[in-house]
């Protein structure tokens, strides 16, 4: 599983940086590197681009995994250089952006250079598909391990709509119909009768509709005072 990102249009980034002269750049060595959106080469590319447009890049780094605890220490190490910058441009996923913002000693603007798209499953090398909505109430046990909430364009829970044609979704010929996939897999297992059961109405309160979700687990490396 990887967090899939894409770079924002340069115009949007430029707009963010309008009032900033000095910029500190941060990339991420994990998902964003894999997506070619925030690895070392992309960071250097953006650095050159900003400098060509009159900005001063006071420093940069690629944090190994921007969403984890070590980000805090990376920021501490670079604190002096970061202090000289008017803002940070984070070439990380949205979790990285927030992690950086959370751990800065002095409050400073952190702008996202990327759009965070989805949590992707690598179906084949380099090809990522969105397969989980993180709805908080998994239905995969009743849908042959294919999630219709995110793979069906209408999140239908009771079979394909009238727009399913030749295995494709009506929204685009590039999107496989999730219910065709579910149907084929259940057919192969001789379990089509299960599709005649009516899936009950979903409880969205355990999803994002219920407000921000939190989870407390025993920390692997608790912060020692």
């Amino acid at each position: 599983m990887k967090t899939i990102t894409e770079q924002k249009p340069l115009e949007e980034i430029t707009q963010y940086l309008e009032k900033c002269k000095k910029v500190y750049l941060i990339g991420c060595g994990t998902c964003a590197t894999l997506c070619h959106t925030g690895g070392k080469s992309e960071v250097l590319e953006v650095k050159a681009n900003l400098e060509a447009n009159g900005k001063q890049v006071v420093g940069w780094m690629v944090i190994p995994t921007a969403c984890d605890e070590l980000t805090k220490y990376a920021l501490e190490e670079e604190a002096k250089t970061i202090a000289a910058a008017d803002c940070i441009l984070a070439m990380t996923c949205a979790i990285g952006v927030q992690m950086i913002s959370l751990h800065l000693k002095e409050p400073k603007l952190v702008y996202p250079a990327l759009n965070t798209l989805f949590l992707g499953m690598e179906e084949s090398p380099g090809h990522f598909t969105e397969v989980c909505l993180q709805c908080g109430n998994c239905v995969l046990g009743r849908t042959a391990a294919i999630c219709p909430l995110v793979r069906c364009s209408k999140s239908l829970l009771n079979g394909p709509c009238g727009g399913s044609a030749e295995g494709k979704c009506e929204v685009s010929p590039d999107i496989p119909c999730a219910w065709q996939l579910i149907y084929d897999r259940l057919a192969a297992m001789g379990r089509l009768d299960e599709l005649e059961e009516i899936e009950p109405i979903k409880d969205w309160s355990v999803s994002v509709s219920g407000g921000p979700r939190k989870s407390d687990v025993e920390a692997e490396c608790a912060d020692t005072p």
Binding site: S153, L156, C161, G162, S164, V171, W179, L192, I198, I201
Partner: protein, 305 residues
Amino acid sequence: MKAGTNLEKVLESGKFTVTAEAGPPKGTSVASVQKKGELLRHCCDAVNVTDNQTAIVRMSSLTGCLILKQQGIDPVMQMVVRDRNRLAIQSDLLGAVALGVGNVLCLSGDHQKFGNHPGAKGVFDIDSIQLIQTLKMMRDEKKFLSGEDINGEVPLFIGAAANPFADPSEFRVSRLAKKVKAGADFIQTQAVYDVDRFRQWTEAVVERDLDKQTHILAGVIPIKSAGMARYMRDSVPGVIIPDEIVTRMEQATEAKEEGVKIILEVIEQLKEIPGVHGIHIMAVSWEDIIPEVVRKAVLMPRPVL
């Protein structure tokens, strides 16, 4: 009787039923709805008012239904789950019933990508089959989805759609069975052009006795021009038009006449198919032709019950 609407009475009487679709305006004109109502009142048993069809914003279906109701026409309120969550669905239904709308057609709705607000958030809180269940629960148990009681009766005649031509084709009868199990009293199908393929579907439907548990109205769309035939063949999700029909339209000297001829041929065959209880005419921006089609199909006058 579940709702006692004209549509329910005609279907229950066993007479071959005729419904038609009227698209509300992209504006505020009451007169434009009334004009369609006047056109359709004598040739149909009920008139569907679409709900932001093809995801294009129009006057609300409920408003269109009320205007038709004032003209003495039995309206069918179409309701899609694309634009409303369960709260809005239930409150709109209470309002519709309060004002005398009894027929409701439960739909998923065309994806917002196809409409004029492609950046809209699709709601899809519940799906179309769960919408049918919701209506049935409100009517039969007089309860909201929350389990709380509804004050007053909720007489509804519940409709659903079916597309015999979509894939996976083997699942299409199962999907109908699910809708019937959920509580669909009547079904309006996607437009039929390939009658043989439609017949295969109805045979499987009859085999399972589904036609005895619900009323099936076969959809028909009169084709106005060769361009429209090509457009529907190539670009309208869920519609299948055989090339032969496109060719007929292309070669016709009088395209409109040919379109009427084709639709009459289809209707003649549909009348004879066991399990088909009527037709639903969706004359997209060609409503004027409906009276002629119904008359020439020898389906006039409509029963007064």
